[in-house]
């Protein structure tokens, strides 16, 4: 039986899915109506009711298209426009939304301190003060700078109880008596200041609320100084509420304290919070834990036996899926006390305007001064009144807050970063980015352990105050161990070893153009070689390419020929110069004009003025 063509046409009505905006949707609807309903209505002009209905349908379609596009765009940070969407994208990518950055500057404090008696070769130790952290200085433009470390004119007593003047002090003769005897000294010492104001906000916390949020009153928070409640509990800032430990610096009291200022302590942080910053207002909200302080015991030590597989009446065990993190973490994600006051001290403010010019910080807004040796009050007041401040260098580091677009541009870079050490690059990056007050690793290198396939050898080396290589102090290694431990995978083993320093002496013989001054040509060659062998250009396991040395010599104007170049290993003590005790056979380790160090070794020309020796032949 034949089917009517009209019926077939109606059954396979053509729909266009390309129309998305008002005009195309209206045209599409109009075409559809004219094609399939010409016998029902014909007037779709703007002035007609049919046109009105057509407009309304197209309008609805246009709206739906718009919001579909909009929502799809909001999923991608590149195309997102709503602050909420951008914030979510930034958070999920690990980008920290920060306000304006503060500037830092070294402020020099000047004081006049009398001598204990006229003519003394130094100030009266009892009158040497400590300018306490928290003192506030202000620039001419009104920018406040807070001192973030004590300026100690006098150093804490040693084990014998003897105070000494801080050796870093710059001392100048002050006033003299008529007979020429010195009666006072001008002393100066630097201290690090950071711009911005420090305020304290007290918030009353009522009954327990999980994941309580407290918004800070000021925008552009640069640092949460401390948070504590009336019960004396200190709340620690963590990257995420699932992090239950923080690291704290502790003064290094061991013998290598001159090289490693602080030790690293791991502190359990059941009372913790994390920061959320609003993209539009740049106001910060503290997000506290989800547990009550009443259940603190649960948070401190999770009991693994609680997670035993249930076997009440059954004699068989079926396969069960298990989340191993349950054994390691708590359910509370941190705790917060209830019915108390939370005191939050924070620092805020920053921006380009905080990069004040040199000598512009001169007013003292708030001064906290202590005299450890308790001098007479009248003398202490005189010293206090003599205090002046200045900044020799411009403040730096102040930056305006990053715009949403700038923050979005950071996402690709931050996505590549991670909190775990997986690759060799991860490990090196962690070593080099350890806070400098925990000790500074100058060079680090990684090689597989030939005796243990599951272990990696990490060679490290440090520098002393004269920029010469030294073995890294033990405190640094201990700090490094604790620091790396939290990032390494459980099956990874890292052996921290000292890199072997191979000291070298370079001897070379050249022919110099007789028409030129030998001394000046040689001085140029020596300067170039000293620069080539600067320690900052040397890396662990890096070979020395002898051809490069020859090239450097030969490329100097006035050098006619390079007769010989010889690298000699030098060790122990030579002419009262102390070298490393590593003996390295240069000849057997030179291959194809390249001198290779031992595994985990680094070359150093320790005394470039002496150990680069030139000889001129004619």
């Amino acid at each position: 039986m034949a089917t009517e063509p009209k019926k077939i046409t109606k059954e396979i009505r053509q729909r266009r899915y390309l129309a998305r905006d008002f005009d195309s949707l209206r045209q599409s609807l109009l075409d559809y109506a004219r094609q399939y309903y010409p016998d029902r209505i014909q007037d779709f002009s703007e002035a007609s009711i049919g046109g009105l209905f057509l407009d309304m349908a197209a309008y609805v379609g246009d709206n739906l298209s718009f919001y579909l596009d909009h929502l799809y765009g909001e999923l991608n940070p590149e195309t997102a426009v709503e602050n909420g969407s951008i914030e979510r994208a930034l958070r999920s990518s690990g980008v920290t939304i920060a306000g304006a950055s503060p500037a830092t500057v070294n402020v020099t404090t000047y004081i006049e301190v009398p001598t204990a008696s006229p003519g003394d070769d130094g100030p009266d130790l009892s009158l040497l003060p400590v300018v306490k952290e928290g003192s506030i200085f202000t620039s001419d433009s009104g920018i406040p700078f807070t001192l973030i470390e004590d300026i100690r004119f006098i150093v804490d007593p040693d084990e014998n109880g003897t105070y000494i003047i801080n050796p870093a002090i710059k001392k100048k003769v002050g006033r003299r008596r008529a007979d020429g005897a010195i009666v006072s000294y001008f002393l100066s010492l630097d201290g690090l200041c950071v711009s911005g104001r420090e305020v304290r906000q007290v918030t009353t916390v009522g009954s327990f609320t999980p994941f309580r949020r407290i918004q800070l009153e000021q925008p552009n928070i640069t640092e949460i100084v401390n948070v504590y409640d009336d019960y004396g509990n200190t709340y620690y800032e963590v990257g995420a509420l699932s992090h239950d430990v923080v690291y704290r610096n502790a003064l290094n009291s061991s013998s290598d304290s001159d090289l490693v200022k602080d030790g690293l302590r791991v502190i359990h942080a059941p009372y913790r919070f994390t920061k959320l910053t609003d993209l539009a207002t740049r106001k910060t909200t503290l997000l506290f834990g989800g547990g009550s302080a009443a259940s603190l015991e649960d948070d401190v030590i999770p009991d693994p036996t609680e997670f035993a597989l249930p076997l009440p009446y059954s004699k068989t065990i079926k396969r069960t899926s298990l989340n191993p993190e349950k054994l390691l973490t708590t359910n509370t994600l941190g705790v917060i006390s209830s019915n108390t006051n939370l005191t939050i001290t924070y620092r805020y403010g920053g921006g380009l305007s905080h990069n004040v010019t040199p000598n512009s910080i001169s007013s003292i807004t708030s001064l906290s001064l202590a005299f450890p040796r308790n001098p007479p009050n009248s003398d202490a007041v005189k010293v206090r009144n003599s205090l002046e401040i200045s900044n020799a260098m411009a403040a730096s580091g102040g930056e305006d807050a990053l715009t949403p677009r700038e923050l979005i541009a950071l996402i690709p870079a931050v996505k590549n970063s991670q909190e775990r050490i997986v690759t060799k690059e991860d490990l090196l990056a962690r070593v080099y980015t350890m806070p400098s007050n925990l000790g500074r690793v100058f060079r680090a290198s990684i090689t597989p352990n030939p005796n243990n396939p599951l272990s990696t050898q990490l060679f490290i080396i440090s520098r002393d105050n004269n920029q010469r290589l030294i073995m890294s102090p033990d405190s640094l290694k201990l700090n490094l161990r604790k620091y790396l431990n939290s990032y390494r995978m459980i099956s990874d083993a890292i052996d921290v070893l000292d890199a072997q320093v191979v000291n070298l002496q370079l001897k070379f013989t050249v022919v110099i153009d007789p028409s030129l001054n030998r001394t000046s040509v040689l001085s140029v060659v020596l300067a170039k070689l000293q620069k080539q062998f600067e320690i900052r250009k040397m890396y662990i396991d890096q070979p020395i390419i002898i051809s490069d040395v020859i090239n450097t010599i030969y490329s100097t104007q006035g050098i006619v020929a390079v007769d010989s170049v010889e690298l000699i290993n030098i060790s122990n003590v030579v002419d009262n110069r102390i070298y490393s005790d590593v003996v390295h056979d240069v000849k057997s380790n030179t291959k194809r004009q390249m001198l290779f160090p031992p595994t985990g070794g680094i070359f150093e020309i320790r005394y470039p003025d002496v150990d680069i020796i030139a000889k001129v032949v004619t």
Partner: protein, 157 residues
């Protein structure tokens, strides 16, 4: 016996033709306003005559104010504001004529406006609202519509 059949009698009777629906019924063109349920052509009552459709559209155009039409903000003659802005009839008329002509030229350019007559009715005891009654004469040359009159009532609140 041979019979003769005239070809003129071949086919259906007129009544049959209508019943078989081969004579097309009048085609609905536009929707009547105010909207009414349709009995013959579908969900709405429809005009089947082009001149009536245009007449209805013109009335709607003149009664529509700016912002009332979805998606076409400037659709309409926008006379409502004039009812409160002008108390003198001459001023109202001069502005109303301009607005009606502009709107017609924009949205219904095939209409040729001819006359405009207005009549103000003030408040009375019987009516609590004042009215402005407009009588517009127009033609549609393409449809051979001549001097058709459209009555519009505007209420002054």
């Amino acid at each position: 016996m041979a019979s003769t059949i005239s070809f003129k009698s071949v086919g259906m009777t007129g009544q049959k033709l209508i019943e078989s629906n081969l004579i097309p019924s009048l085609t609905p063109i536009g929707i009547k306003t105010p909207l009414k349920l349709g009995k013959k052509y579908g969900i709405f009552d429809m005009y089947t005559n082009m001149s009536d459709t245009i007449h209805d559209n013109l009335r709607n155009l003149i009664l529509t104010n700016w912002g009332e039409r979805l998606g076409l903000y400037y659709f309409g003659a926008n006379l409502r504001p004039l009812t409160t802005e002008y108390s003198v009839q001459e001023e109202f008329d001069s502005e109303a004529v301009i607005r009606i002509k502009t709107a017609t030229a924009t949205w219904m350019p095939y209409i040729n406006l001819i006359d405009y007559v207005s009549d103000f009715e003030s408040y009375t005891k019987l009516s609590s609202v004042a009215q402005i009654k407009l009588l517009i004469t127009y033609s549609v040359p393409q449809l051979a519509v001549e001097n058709r009159k459209l009555r519009i009532n505007l209420f002054v609140l």
